[in-house]
Symmetry: C2
């Protein structure tokens, strides 16, 4: 499919939204390259890992209680929990679970975490509207393409300004994915995107607080609702994306129009997706790797450390310079906490970014010794940690491509390990071996919802 | 209550959000001036008028059908309809009804339509959580103040850019109102505003389409949910409004910080609220008045008209230059249609802005004769219509303050007439005399929800 020329008339008439809608309507499984199919399955393995870990966070306990007062039925599974709820609530709550620890996937060009909203919407749908694994994978791939292309078009200004891009663009992805899974035609997909375009809330200001989970949940729930409304004839504008007062212009000063449709069907956004080895903001990954390297075979003790230097692109400092954090959630975006806890404990799992870890006074003392050194010439993907000992000795390690980056992706086995470990952390009693086995062969499933039922908590905690 | 000084430290620390929250938490009925109390009741009369009219629009039929699949219970009334639904759905659907014809109220400085979202959220709450009329009125007044102050702080850029300010700011008003009605303390009100801050979708691009109703409904539903979540301990950031990446900065380049808190408790935003005599974009009101005046005692017929000139501030043209509209909804923001239909029929009710009226070929012909004349020196409140006859004769009328403007507000009797007429249009069989009687004495009601039950459809249409 060719990108259409972008001129003022095309923008006004909605040619870009229509081109995207046509792509979603007409793309078939056979059009999806093998590498993209595989990445879809890797994204789903990672999705279940993070959803099973987050399912019993206190944020989820509270959300399940309040949302549960408004559940229409018990048709739909909550990953890692024993309660059931209705389709819309399940979409919201499962997306929250998958994102609450900031341990989910990252589309590198935009920093969108695409899978939480889109997979949660699709699996919720699948429990009431049976579909094959293949159909769900196809819808997922297309939903990610739509969300991330919209994200590309408004980046980097959109996130820098303060819009939580995972939420604001995720709702379009969920809408497109559900529209595909429901077999909507081109017109109805345009409506679904229009119905999504009025539900794009989410603020960076709320990172590290429970509020953030609301907008991630809404991206799934409202994207699903947007498509169901469109299916029932609830219509929207012709150009919800590119119109004069459409989403792109209101949320970015200079949208990159071409990003919406250029290379459609040839370049797949899912191939730019990555999976985190650590439950932190993605820019902290090379910092953690560097700390692990510095610590390896150390002949010094923590008390010997006079100062810690963290060198990187200024963006690293801007995103992570958070001393004195008070909660586990805040610690996930704090370089001070990450450096201290990894140097002290030699690992970086969920326990290291918990309320308990944050309360550890020895870590707080260590954290105070960190100082940032900006270097605009460094790529964002790299970071260097140097510890300066009281003896004057300096021990430095620089990381050029962190584990889990596009240059050093997690292997399938590492993703499977992540699922085992996070499911154990969530204590849900899920048979992760069976779950992983079926996910790696997901395109052969007759009933996509079967894996969701496998992800239900076996304990009654 | 004094506005606190606005400096960088205060912004970062959340002093503005906290000042607003404290105001909401501590203001009592005795603190609300009589004029404000009366305006609250006038707003509610207008609310029931528009909700009863819109309840059976096809947008509502579709929304009720889809949302109805996800209703937890039947605790809550839908104004003008016979179905019942749960609290969250009712908040959404009643707000949609009240706004679907663009016939609701307008806060002049921001063009926010404040009552739809806030009243819908409060009445939905009242059916499950009994409160007095006085308690509802107090919560309503405070919710309007919060929504409109936030609107003042981001205007005019916010709407001009394309954010549908009724939706984006309405969610804060609904959250604050419900928080007050539930008796939340200062901290929890800050959380409620934080939980609202991630749910601020809504685009001007969708005006005239069904999509717009989704975000107006969401403002009510999600504001209500934001407060219920906060009540259950779902916490948010300290500075959701004024933080570096809070709502004000992401949605306006130069927020007017002082607008949030200056004159709090002395200047009431509700006193800047107005009620439409015609179901159109508010800038069309003086145009319609001028057409009615031009037509009064006319000795010409439509065939004599060579050209129609519409003179006004350029904003009038920018907002309403919409030739060739295709639906009743679009016609509500089309000067071409408004001028044609009013000159032809001498009235401007819902029938004049319907799909049927738009399809009338004689009106389309007349509409093509309109041309705009911009005059930057004219206030937005005024407009002049001139018809140029084939004979060369020119008949002009200029309106300085339209009926329903702050300078020429609708009288209580006119608001009551509006309610009678619109209820009749909606064919819901509601006893509007009883309803109006109780609304004018609403501060004496023991059970606020009683008037909502009166507004239920008596027919089974």
């Amino acid at each position: 499919m060719q990108a259409e020329p972008v001129d003022a008339k095309a923008l006004h008439g909605g040619a870009l939204t229509r081109t995207l809608a046509r792509f979603v309507a007409h793309t078939q499984w056979r059009d999806v390259p093998v590498a993209v199919r595989n990445e879809a399955k890797r994204s789903l393995v990672n999705y279940f890992a993070v959803a099973l870990a987050g399912a019993h966070d206190s944020t989820l306990d509270r959300a399940v209680a309040v949302y549960g007062r408004f559940r229409a039925d018990e048709s739909t599974t909550l990953a890692g929990r024993s309660e059931r709820t209705d389709m819309l609530n399940a979409a919201a709550l499962n997306a929250m679970s998958a994102n609450v620890y900031d341990f989910d996937d990252t589309h590198i060009p935009t920093i969108i975490h695409p899978t939480a909203a889109i997979a949660a919407a699709l699996f919720a749908l699948a429990e009431s509207h049976p579909m094959s694994g293949k159909a769900l994978l196809l819808a997922f791939v297309l939903g990610v393409d739509v969300a991330c292309r919209i994200g590309n078009a408004v980046s980097p200004e959109h996130y820098q300004r303060g819009w939580h891009i995972t939420s604001t663009c995720g709702v379009f992805g969920a809408a497109a994915a559900v529209a595909k899974a429901r077999g909507l035609d081109e017109d109805a997909i345009v409506w679904a995107l229009g119905n999504a375009s009025v539900q794009t809330g989410g603020l960076v200001e709320t990172l590290g607080t429970m509020s953030k989970s609301i907008s991630v949940g809404n991206a799934a729930r409202n994207g699903l609702l947007a498509a169901l409304l469109a299916e029932d004839g609830f219509s929207g504008p012709d150009a919800p994306l590119e119109g004069d007062r459409g989403f792109l212009r209101v949320s970015a000063s200079h949208p990159k129009w071409n990003a919406l449709t250029e290379g459609l069907g040839r370049e797949w956004e899912l191939l730019k997706n990555t999976y985190k080895p650590y439950p932190c903001g993605v820019v902290l990954n090379p910092v953690i790797d560097a700390c692990l390297d510095v610590r390896r075979g150390a002949r010094w003790s923590l008390n010997d450390i006079e100062q810690i230097e963290l060198k990187g692109h200024p963006l690293l400092r801007e995103r992570t310079d958070r001393p004195g954090v008070r909660t586990g959630r805040e610690s996930q975006v704090s370089a001070q906490h990450a450096v201290a806890v990894v140097l002290a404990r030699g690992k970086a799992g969920l326990d290291e970014f918990s309320d308990a870890a944050v309360a550890d006074p020895s870590l707080r003392m260590l954290a105070r010794r960190l100082r940032f050194i900006d270097d605009l010439s460094w790529p964002v993907e790299s970071a260097q940690v140097t510890i300066v000992l009281r003896s004057g000795e300096r021990i430095a390690h620089r990381v050029h491509a962190a584990r889990g980056s596009l240059a050093a992706p997690l292997a399938n086995g590492e993703l499977a390990d992540k699922l085992h470990q996070l499911a154990a952390y969530g204590r849900s009693g899920v048979d992760t071996h069976a779950l992983i086995e079926r996910l790696w062969n997901f395109e052969t499933e007759h009933d996509a919802a079967a894996v969701m039922r496998l992800a239900r908590a076996r304990t009654t905690s």
